[in-house]
Symmetry: C2
Subunit: 180 residues, 2 copies
Amino acid sequence: MKPETNQRVRQQTLELLRKAHIAVTPEEAGAIEVADFGLDDIRRIGLELLVYRNDERYCAKELVILPGQTCPEHRHPPRGEHTPGKQETFRCRWGEVYLYTEGEPAVAPKAALPAAYRENFTVWHEIILRPGEQYTIPPDTLHWFQGGAKGAVVSEFSSKSVDETDVFTDRNVRRVHPAG
Amino acid sequence: MKPETNQRVRQQTLELLRKAHIAVTPEEAGAIEVADFGLDDIRRIGLELLVYRNDERYCAKELVILPGQTCPEHRHPPRGEHTPGKQETFRCRWGEVYLYTEGEPAVAPKAALPAAYRENFTVWHEIILRPGEQYTIPPDTLHWFQGGAKGAVVSEFSSKSVDETDVFTDRNVRRVHPAG
């Protein structure tokens, strides 16, 4: 991602947080992560994250999804023998998000995917989340999501985040944390 | 607590959530807990809670604190031999909250307590939280908090909530969940 693209997406993320009336400190604003999953196509495939807390016991963050932006399909596998995969509760705070997971596929899903990516999305059970609505994704369950026309701000409450072990359907995806 | 008091506090809670721009479903509005800790003095000692999720892995809720209302001093002891007590991250969303925990006591604390209750508050290390600011309370650590002049809305991210096992300094406190 070009530095100027990163900068523009960061500004847009702060603007969506502002629309959602979510207060962030200047230090937090600087720590927002713009994740392009190694695909360098941030406006179509990507996600913006502000992590509040992540430790062995729990994790809380805001997810900011640009209009029409898609977080690629993935699952959170078990961690070792005794720890089940990450469980996540998504709570929509602002905007609208189309969430897809395992189960009966939607006949006419709201999300639209670019043809180039479509084969990497295999689950189509649709949950539409509007402000105040939430959904919990069980461990090790495939899911992906797309922001609505105005984008979305979603609080994620979960067990510990260990992004490096996430399993993506698209083998081109690289989920790494930026240096620094 | 009289039913009409409960009803008025519930309305005030919804009004504070509205000021904080936190969307809640009608079902959630009906499920808000008004906790008077058995002291029947809700405007001075109490707390309002909207639980989003609480299971073995994590808990997330909004705490609504009326202007000048105080949540009594308590700690979360270990659960059995292998589970440390509840750990909590408080993130102020709106208003101002004065949080007190173990450590160097404040010389001129912001919180004011009615004389009748004062002996049940023993820790005075002060953390002031304004919107966007957060603080994590370690397990089994005494703490209490009071809402500022306008009240406060605080997101709590934590390990599992098991309120029934909380240990309060005031032995008159009864922390029970309302029937139904």
